[in-house]
């Protein structure tokens, strides 16, 4: 194990990377979709590297009779008298790779055996939802379609900042999970992830006219914009949707929105 620890670790990390990208869409719970090809390439490269290192190691063992494993000890005792000190200095750089590397088993096993869930209402509730930074101005026209599919982030910025009022008179459809506010209000909520789940920010839209489903249920809501407050002011936020229908759906494979 001491000899092959490093190669095993590399293969483990590579396998974890491939399991969440090549064999499922689980990676979307952690990072945004643009990272997929890089993760696949990394996974394959890591496994190849692990196998190559293992082959090199076994060859060294056959040919030079274990010179590989002993090299550290030799290096230490070369400095006569300081042998012990030298050894302890090199100690954590054994043939199996540095000891700290074993920490890699934590995320690797988590991904292989029990992939952590996507962030949901807990994370959304902890952060005051952020409004995208922008000024009031006219937005480009909405795409055709009735109802028109929008992301929550897009709906929010149009509702708060669009001086052209492009949402007026349009039926929109949005998908997100349910969070509850005070006094029986409920929100359609979605997290936006730019690079990885550590940078998640929250968008939410207050839903009126439909009964609140339980927290964290995924729903698709169709409805019309309910203007409120002056454009760009705090009173305009969070935006409101008069719902015509709210349908429970399965969690989408990409649980986050991307900018």
């Amino acid at each position: 194990m001491r000899r092959y620890g490093g190669p095993v670790l590399l293969c483990l990390v590579g396998a974890a990377a491939l399991r969440i990208t090549l064999f499922s869409e689980l990676y979307l719970r952690y990072v945004q979709h643009a990272l997929r090809p890089y993760l696949i390439v990394s996974g394959i490269a890591l496994i190849l590297l692990g196998v190559t290192t293992a082959v090199l190691r076994s060859r060294t063992a056959d040919g030079e009779d274990g010179a590989d494993g002993g090299s550290d000890e030799d290096g230490g005792s070369d400095e006569d008298g300081h042998g012990h000190h030298g050894h302890s200095h090199h100690g954590h750089h054994g043939a199996a790779g540095p000891r700290i590397a074993w920490l890699l088993t934590l995320p690797a096993f988590a991904l292989l055996v029990f992939p952590p869930p996507a962030l949901g209402s807990y994370s959304a509730g902890r952060e005051a939802a952020q409004r995208a930074a922008q000024g009031v101005g006219a937005f480009p026209a909405l795409p055709a379609g009735n109802p028109v599919e929008l992301t929550l982030a897009e709906f929010s910025s149009r509702a708060i900042y669009d001086s052209g009022r492009s949402l007026t008179g349009r039926t929109v459809r949005m998908t997100g999970f349910v969070t509850h506010g005070s006094g029986g209000t409920w929100y359609l909520t979605r997290l936006m992830v730019t690079c990885c789940a550590a940078d998640a920010t929250t968008s939410k839209v207050e839903i009126r006219g439909e009964d609140a489903p339980p927290t964290d249920t995924w729903v698709t809501v169709t409805g019309t914009w309910h203007p409120k407050g002056r454009l760009g002011s705090d009173a305009a936020w969070p935006p409101v949707l008069d719902a015509g229908s709210a349908k429970t759906v399965k969690q989408p494979s990409d649980p986050y929105e991307t900018p």
């Binding site: 490093g6 952690y30 995320p107 995208a132």
Partner: protein, 334 residues
């Protein structure tokens, strides 16, 4: 005689194997039974929403770090194995004071985030590049490469000054830190980065060995940093920040601290900065300048590569320089 011994040996081996299988099997069965009975209830009790969110953020930081770390270690192992030392001595000016800005500007060529730059800087030092120049490269590469600058311009539409301010403040910090190291730095703070083997070996074999060692080593520290980042992410709600948004005197240092604990990848931090809309522009600039140079994940990586004594001194000095440089550039440009 000879045969008898072989038979006896075989029998002994067989008995031992049977004993091992029986004992080990019983133990495994016992563990499996206990785990399957107690496991689900225990797991459900422990798997509260904050714990689940911690695991998600932890794995997310680790997962997004892996490709960049691999890129960084491939470049660093390639430098170690295939690029002779004289290339760098020829490329960089002999004079350290001149070499620092050249190395800082050279950071433009490594299109990665901060995880990639630490192993590369380590291998540059092994190849005889002056530490001051290698450190300037370490700081500037994740902050001023084209990918990061384009991301910044997308996150701040219609504000090209923000991109320019980020470029100038980051480059300024990197160069000043390089000069500070050249003037005050002591080589014994810096544990010379070494691989498991002879660092003078070259060729494909040295490449493979160096690559696997560097990746495992830096990967372990990346996991450590990811755990720290996830802990802060879960423990400190961002709504706490709203208290400090009013005055620039509190807002700028506060976002500089936030950049350290959040460990957002340098290719994404502009979007996070853009979403912190309640803060003054200079504070958001400080967030983007400090983030790629000092954060928990990076401190862990640097401690692993260059030693703890170096990481603490260097990171705190860099934090101060980055803060002043972004305050200065922000006051001038924004």
């Amino acid at each position: 005689m000879h045969n008898q011994r072989t038979v006896a040996d075989g029998l002994r081996l067989l008995t031992r194997a049977v004993v091992h299988v029986v004992l080990g099997g019983t133990a495994l069965l016992a563990i499996a039974t206990v785990a399957s009975v107690l496991g689900p209830t225990l797991a459900l009790d422990l798997y509260t929403p904050p714990v689940a969110a911690w695991w998600t953020v932890f794995t997310a930081v680790a997962v997004q770090g892996v490709p960049f770390l691999l890129l960084g270690t491939v470049v660093s192992a390639a430098i170690g194995a295939f690029v002779p030392e004289r290339v760098f001595t020829r490329l960089l000016p002999r004079n350290q004071a001149l070499a620092v800005p050249v190395a800082g500007a050279a950071g433009v060529v490594l299109p990665g985030c901060e995880c990639a730059s630490v192993p590369v800087a380590g291998s540059l030092m092994r190849r005889g590049v002056a530490p001051a120049a290698a450190l300037a490269f370490l700081l500037s590469a994740p902050a001023i490469n084209p990918v990061v600058l384009v991301a910044t311009s997308i996150a701040f539409p219609g504000q090209p000054r923000m991109v320019l301010a980020r470029l100038l403040a980051s480059l300024g910090t990197a160069v000043v830190m390089g000069w500070l190291w050249a003037r005050f730095g002591r080589d014994d703070w810096l544990r010379p980065p070494r691989t498991a083997r002879d660092s003078h070996a070259t060729g494909p074999r040295a490449f493979v060995t160096g690559l696997q060692h560097d990746f495992l080593h830096a990967g372990g520290f990346l996991v450590l940093g990811a755990a720290a980042a996830a802990t802060f992410n879960i423990a400190v709600p961002r709504s706490v920040l709203d208290v400090f948004t009013g005055s620039a005197w509190t807002a700028v240092p506060l976002l500089a601290v936030l950049a350290v604990v959040l460990c957002v990848c340098s290719e994404a931090d502009a979007f996070v900065a853009a979403s912190l809309s309640a803060f003054p522009a200079t504070a958001r600039l400080a967030f983007m300048v400090v983030g790629p140079m000092v954060d928990l994940k990076l401190i862990a990586l640097q401690a692993g590569t260059f030693g703890r004594r170096f990481a603490l001194r260097f990171s705190s000095a860099t934090w101060l320089v980055a803060l002043s440089s972004s305050a200065l550039v922000g006051w001038w440009l924004l």
